[in-house]
């Protein structure tokens, strides 16, 4: 300890001077090299420039209120008192890290980025919400069938599977073998009513979306649904709300019920509905799987020109969504655009005593 201190004293004599010079140097560096830096030097120099300057962009430190407006999409109250530091713009920081691998993998990365430029066409995120209940005798089987379909949907797709918390890992096991990007949500409450449980599960998923501010097209996919793959391409076109006809098939019946919007091109001019399967649920005559919506209405209602009523209904988000779908007909489009005339979704109704009860 003593030796270190002695040498430090000696050192300090030099260093104060060194420091002084360094100060001038930095000043000179800033004033002299700033405007031409990028053109004058090779890439690493650009990096050094950038880093040297980034503290300046940091000087735009925000007052909390400013910060709030800038990042008004962050609503957490925890943030109220935390120092918020704006960071340099996106493009800049992006190229900063690109370097990190450049030295080692320059060639490969170059090739990769070229590839990406050609091939990577960004897709809309689809958020598929699937409630599952132990009361459903066919749950495991139908889950596998839906899994096989969702695996074929081009990414990005986020699958939210909800179930009651249990010690059985059956659902987790099925899900984890699929390779689909999913989130498995669990809840503790007990339900006797099947539909109430389903709604609770959907609410849970919507709350997750709201809490995380996930941005995408939300669709409720029941386990007894069967999809044509083109369905998933079509719903990516939805801006706010979208709806489509679906076919309800029942075992050993003659009737095929088709429910859904009646469209002129993609404009919804009316509905063809049966209230058959909704007798218990008076809140919405539209089948839960027959519409999809932009998730931002959950966490950014102002964007869609409505009061932020979600907060009040957070206990029953699903109700809110159903209401919005029906009220906002101007923003509702029919799918597919050619007059909603193609069925892409079949619902197979197999009565099982448990599910009915």
């Amino acid at each position: 300890m003593g030796t270190v201190e002695r040498s430090k004293k000696k050192v300090q004599l030099y260093n104060k001077a060194i420091f002084h010079f360094f100060l001038c140097f930095v000043m000179g560096f800033f004033t002299g090299f700033a405007p031409t830096g990028k053109s004058l030097f090779s890439r690493p120099v650009v990096a050094s420039n950038r880093s040297a300057f980034s503290p300046q962009s940091l000087s735009l430190s925000l007052s909390p209120s400013q910060a709030r407006t800038q990042s008004d999409s962050f609503n957490t109250s925890l943030l109220d008192e935390t120092p918020i530091v704006a960071i340099p713009t996106k493009s800049k920081s992006k190229s900063e890290f690109e370097f990190e691998f450049e030295s080692e993998f320059e060639f490969e990365h170059e090739r990769l980025t070229n590839l990406e430029k050609v091939e990577l066409i960004p897709n809309r995120l689809i958020i598929v919400v699937t409630p599952t209940s132990v009361k459903d005798r066919l749950r495991a089987v139908h889950l596998r069938r839906l899994t096989n379909t969702l695996r074929l949907v081009p990414p990005p797709l986020l699958w939210m599977v909800v179930e009651q918390k249990s010690n059985s890992a059956r659902v987790s096991e099925i899900l984890r073998k699929t390779g689909i990007m999913y989130r498995h949500l669990v809840f503790k409450e007990n339900f006797t009513d099947f539909e109430a449980e389903m709604d609770h599960q959907r609410n849970l998923a919507l709350n997750h979306i709201e809490h995380h501010r996930l941005s995408g097209i939300v669709h409720f996919a029941g386990l007894s649904n069967v999809y044509d793959l083109s369905f998933f391409d079509e719903i990516r076109a939805i801006e706010v709300f979208g709806t489509w006809p679906m076919a309800m098939l029942s075992a050993n019946k003659k009737m095929v019920m088709i429910e859904g919007p009646v469209c002129d091109s993609s404009e919804v001019v009316g509905w063809h509905l049966s209230n058959m399967n909704n007798l218990t649920d008076t809140s919405s005559p539209v089948h839960i799987s027959s519409f999809a919506f932009n998730s931002s209405i959950l966490w950014d209602p102002e964007r869609w020109g409505r009061s932020s009523s979600v907060q009040d209904t957070s206990q029953n988000t699903i109700k809110f969504v159903k209401k919005e779908v029906l009220e906002e007909e101007t923003k509702l489009i029919g799918i597919p655009a050619k007059g909603c005339s193609k069925i892409m979704l079949w619902n197979l109704h197999i009565p099982t005593p448990n599910a009915q009860r």
């Binding site: 050192v11 943030l79 935390t82 900063e96 691998f101 073998k177 390779g179 990007m181 501010r213």
Partner: protein, 413 residues
């Protein structure tokens, strides 16, 4: 042209450093190359360890009082003791020993919630050292320079869980010549002494084993993290906890579908790690966390967010090759950084992670197995042999000041 300037700068720097007198601590050494070559070393025959026999109040009694110590992340101090007692490197003849080990369980004083309270640790450690120095001649010979101690708590031998306090206290005076085996590792930190051996925290091996799923389970999570983002209880203002890095992860990526991040700890936590490509290992109050061990065991590429962290067995494990380092200030760019890693690099990291010797080195299994963390500690100690001549003091020479440190520490235990 460029190279020439490079060389010049390097030369100037070297000249400068030498002149100044190398004030800076050395960067941690690290071998390059594939994992396993050093990890598979067998320490047996390369060193002999003498285990002091202490009254049971320093170890067994404490454990009896609170068996939870066997399962928390600081349990390495207990298992290391048990391991050494049965290990072939143990010698009963202190005269032929290369290293001396003092079995004190300093972190086994738990709150009702199971969190360790290190307040009494300095007194306990001091008392143990006083005991060995008066009962045996070996401590006074070197003032502990050939002794090693396991101090797995947050800030090692600084014995405090608050970093500011820990820095204020510094490493316990008694231990300043000893070799410390600790989980804490941060470069240029007062609580990290040169020559310390950084070890992984204890993670229950059987429990992890029980949750292993087949390696062909497709990895479908891009980034995974479970844990706190804000520690509202201890850090109501925010910005102290994890130096704001965890909060930044949440604020920037909660809306990103690729980031499976949450505060909820699911039943499938271990399984989920096994189907994630990247697992975030951000600092918490200390730079390390058990996530690091979990990530390696479960083959999930650790994304280490803790500036200047010194990782466990960094001289044997090529952390640079298996993990991804992200600076705390780069957290907002995490998504871009991770997606721009070339796939070949990712696959290589996964292959390295799949190496069983890497996993083995992270665990403290009972009974011990070749190549496990116990053996890595011994390897680390063996690599320090033979001792430098300076460890032995001249007769009568004293370097350590026994009365230094806070008054509270001087009280008897």
């Amino acid at each position: 042209m460029k190279d020439w300037r490079w060389v010049l700068v390097k030369f100037l720097y070297v000249a400068f450093v030498l002149r100044i007198g190398a004030v800076e601590g050395q960067q941690t050494e690290r071998i390059s190359g594939s994992a396993g070559d050093v990890l598979e070393d067998d320490p047996v025959g390369r060193l002999k360890v003498f285990v002091y026999e202490l009254p049971s109040k320093y170890n067994k009694k404490i454990l009896q009082k609170d068996p939870r110590c066997l399962n928390h992340m600081f349990a390495a101090e207990i298992y290391m003791h048990q391991f050494l007692l049965a290990s072939p490197v143990r010698t009963l003849n202190p005269e032929e020993a290369d290293w001396f080990y003092t079995p004190v369980y300093t972190t086994c004083d738990l709150t009702p919630n199971g969190l360790p309270l290190p307040f009494k640790s300095p007194r306990m450690m001091r008392s143990a050292i006083q005991l060995i120095s008066s009962n045996w001649p070996y401590w006074n010979r070197t003032e502990g320079a050939d002794h090693f101690f396991i101090v797995p708590h947050d800030f090692g031998a600084c014995f405090h869980y608050l970093e500011e306090k820990a820095i204020e206290r510094g490493i316990l005076t008694m231990l300043q010549r000893a070799t410390l085996v600790q989980t804490f590792g941060q470069r240029n930190h007062v609580c990290l002494k040169d020559g310390s051996i950084t070890i992984p925290p204890y993670a229950p091996p059987q429990k992890m084993q029980a949750h292993l799923i087949p390696p062909d389970t497709p990895r479908s999570i891009f980034v995974y993290f479970r844990g706190l983002f804000y520690d509202v209880g201890n850090d109501p203002e925010g910005g102290y906890y994890a130096r704001g890095a965890r909060a930044a992860v949440w604020e920037n990526f909660k809306d990103n579908p690729l980031f499976d991040i949450s505060t909820e700890h699911p039943m499938t936590y271990y399984e989920d790690m096994q189907r994630a490509v990247f697992c975030l290992c951000p600092l918490g109050w200390a730079p390390w966390s058990p996530r690091l061990v979990e990530a390696v065991i479960f083959g999930c590429i650790p994304v280490i967010i803790a500036d200047d962290i010194v990782l466990p067995f960094a001289d044997a494990i090529p952390w640079e090759e298996i993990g991804v380092y992200v600076d705390e200030k780069d957290v907002p760019n995490l998504d871009a950084m991770l997606t721009s890693i070339p796939t070949e690099v990712i696959l290589r990291k996964q292959r390295l992670l799949a190496n069983p010797s890497m996993k083995q080195a992270m665990l403290f299994p009972q009974p011990a197995q070749p190549g496990d963390a116990f053996h890595q500690i011994l390897n680390g100690l063996a690599r320090k042999l033979p001792h430098d001549k300076s460890v032995h003091l001249k007769p009568g020479e004293k370097i350590l000041n026994w009365t230094a440190g806070p008054v509270g520490d001087l009280k008897p235990w």
